[in-house]
């Protein structure tokens, strides 16, 4: 159904009407797409949203052509997946960031962090470099110079003055529970989960990623569709004023729109 230039399906006023299907995670991606549907309709594009619950199948389906584009992953994950699976995808442009935050119930500020504190991270390896570089920025650790930040793992920590311990085996959705229940731990929580758990990222996080983060959620499509008009229109619409203010209002800081 990759028919952005299909002649068929014209609307009544004679304009070219094309149809695209985009795979997305349900929050916030699908919700954002749904918000964009009427705007696209005005541009003569019918947008179908296919919701996914995992992070493997959307890429797989994209490659097989079941969907025209997907909108669920950030750039480092996209790159990692392309490398792992040999996908030939193109990044059509970023839409938003879900800033990663590091939270703690017991420490007021980073200075309070004690020797040997455990840092909890999700079992999603794509997040590890992100969290570690965030911690490096705050001076909690330093990472090996030779390693690319986004690919860093716990093994790449060069200096660890506070002897922090790392536990990176927990499902991302469960981390708020750990935050709630465990004493004297630092928990790295994806903002969407933090919000579901009634945390306020801007207030509760000890460290919160800024909009300069490389972890931008992008629209990805097969390389041959890089210049597809409908898909590029989609990106444009998603970066429009209307959608950006929708994101800011709806997600209260948990999702930050980007436009470069």
């Amino acid at each position: 159904a990759c028919g952005s230039s299909d002649e068929e399906g014209s609307s009544e006023d004679g304009e070219d009407q094309s149809e695209i299907t985009v795979g997305a995670s349900s929050t916030p991606h699908a919700e954002i797409l749904q918000e964009a549907q009427p705007l696209l309709e005005e541009e003569g594009i019918t947008l179908n949203v296919e919701e996914y619950q995992d992070y493997v199948l959307p890429n797989r389906d994209l490659e097989e052509g079941e969907i025209d584009a997907n909108y669920f992953q950030h750039i480092p994950y996209l790159e990692d997946q392309q490398e792992q699976n040999g996908y030939d995808f193109a990044n059509l442009g970023g839409v938003h960031i879900e800033p990663m935050g590091i939270y703690s119930k017991d420490f007021e500020s980073l200075d309070d962090v004690q020797e040997g504190t455990t840092v909890l991270m999700s079992n999603s390896t794509a997040d590890h470099g992100r969290i570690l570089s965030l911690m490096e920025e705050e001076g909690l650790i330093t990472l090996d110079e030779d390693v690319e930040k986004v690919e860093a793992t716990v093994d790449d920590i060069a200096e660890n003055p506070k002897n922090l311990e790392f536990d990176a085996g927990i499902d991302a959705a469960l981390l708020p529970e750990n935050y709630e229940r465990e004493d004297n731990v630092l928990v790295a929580i994806n903002t969407n989960y933090a919000i579901e758990a009634d945390l306020n990222p801007s207030e509760d996080a000890l460290i919160l990623e800024g909009s300069d983060s490389p972890y931008v959620n992008v629209i990805a499509a097969n390389s041959e569709d890089e210049d597809n008009e409908a898909l590029n229109t989609l990106v444009e619409v998603l970066r429009s004023e209307e959608i950006q203010s929708f994101i800011e209002e709806e997600y209260e800081g948990a999702v930050v729109p980007v436009d470069e």
């Binding site: 929050t27 996914y52 619950q53 995992d54 199948l57 959705a173 469960l174 989960y193 579901e196 758990a197």
Partner: protein, 222 residues
Amino acid sequence: MLEELFPNVKMEDMIEATNETLYMTTVSVAGTFILGLLLGLLLYLSGPGGLWDNKLLNWITATVVNVFRAIPFIILILLLFPFTDFLMGTIRGPGAALPALIIGGAPFYARLVEIALKEVDKGVIEAAKSMGAKYRTIIFKVLLPESMPALVSGITVTAIALISYTAVAGVIGAGGLGDFAYFYGFQRRDFDVVAVCTILIVIIVFIFQFIGDYVSRRLDKR
């Protein structure tokens, strides 16, 4: 009133999820019953003292059964992708969950079948042998009928295990109540949805259990 208690619950979603669960469960129970019975019989018959007493066959069957029981269900789904794709023409939706459910459930039921068959009185098997019964006759007219109450109870247990497997099958978009609960409960923390889903699952479990118990009791003429 109900809406206050369960603000996030949408009726049509629930009905759809229930239908998906029922569909996946009933079809996979049927498949598991047949495949499991077959494997279980094979295990029992080829086992020590069984009718076919055959070390090699027993070893092979036991290996197949154990391997498929050993593989975590979630990995099984993954491994079965090519097979599922070939068989169902898709790897998504409730239909695509069936091969994994059946292949995951059958080895499990096979063991329950084996246990049930072992409890059959040796005397009546001997009686059938003494009449010159074929193995087929012994199987269908002695072993299965005499162990029927336990076989029925066993498939009830398996059916209920399959219901909870369907939750895991959610990763391939199979849907169903368990997945709905997982998704909303785990990821969205809408506990009212979790509660409703769980109640619906419990009701389904009760219905299966009730039917199983009833049939098993009616069959038991001891």
